[in-house]
Symmetry: C3
Subunit: 139 residues, 3 copies
């Protein structure tokens, strides 16, 4: 069994933002030499997500306003977590809706994707360096 482990670094300049990481993950699959296997991509921080959806700017804005409705940032004092001195409780909630990780099939050496699947890093408490893990296993 082959395996590859890589960390991707991010520093999103605003509190929230989305970044398409599909090309980077595809290159790592190629580098791994795995022809048949699985590729795990997960946020290593608990106020961020990795998810698969559409590379369409309007939709990314829809996600942002929808998440802000489901788990608003303000009032900061409405969350018990923020009594610790943090102001990011909403980011912990938003991340649960969007998910921590994706697992993607590798078939014949490539990500086995449908026509519109794109891998996104979703940041809900940015303005600092954070990591994503890519783990590939297979033959």
């Amino acid at each position: 069994m082959k395996s590859l482990t890589e960390h991707l670094w991010f520093n999103i300049p605003s509190r929230r933002g989305f970044e398409n990481i599909t090309t980077t993950v595809e290159a790592l699959v190629k580098k791994s030499g795995v022809r048949e296997g699985l590729c795990l991509v997960n946020a290593m921080h608990i106020t961020a997500s990795v998810f698969i959806n559409d590379a369409e700017e309007g939709l990314l804005e829809d996600y942002d306003s929808w998440l802000e409705k489901l788990a608003p940032h303000e009032p900061v004092s409405s969350y018990l977590h923020n009594r610790t001195g943090e102001d990011n409780a909403d980011a912990h909630l938003k991340r649960q809706v969007m998910g921590r990780e994706v697992v993607i099939a590798i078939t014949q050496g490539r990500l086995d994707f449908g026509p519109w699947e794109q891998i996104y890093y979703g940041e809900f408490d940015g303005r600092r360096r954070k990591r994503v893990l890519v783990k590939i296993i297979g033959d």
Copy 2:
């Protein structure tokens, strides 16, 4: 390491619907010959889900009305994504709540399930052909 890759096709006749795919996936596990491993089942389209829950008709209706409350289809114009000419922004949101994929353990040649676990395809923008990927790896 053994592996098996199969695509399942769906054409749900309404906008939204659920289909139990447990028996199909179980048959693929048997076909793979894998005794110990992992089975990934994921929607290949970004307005559909694969999830595990109960085979109970009332609950499926509860999911449908709950998702419609969290991310309503109407008014279509309230979503930026729909400016592209689509009317399915809500489907992209609903799919994030229900998830893209499940990963299931294979133990002694079978899906290692609790008493009520059933695998479902969840469609949120149907009336066209769409696919699910089943990827099995192990020994």
Copy 3:
């Protein structure tokens, strides 16, 4: 390929509750002897979750009240599922928000975690014995 399969048992004394299972899962990774691979941890019951987030009591209470807002337990009669004689439809919904499973990379014989990642069992319909599955595969 090595593999290990273990079931963890829980009996949360209240309807809802959270339990940190990180240390238990870490010990199973060590026991498996896997150095490079994947670790799947999933609820085997469809009214419970396994998720990764912060070991902070305030946040766990925030999750509880947020989930109760998104999918309230009462009125029990508002859910079709509860016509079966159950009163746990809300638990099936809450579990979809928090997720069924996590997949964690194993690197150099350890869970490959960011600084604050902790594995939690989330119970939404407790007061009875329920199980979590840990499946580890790799070399």
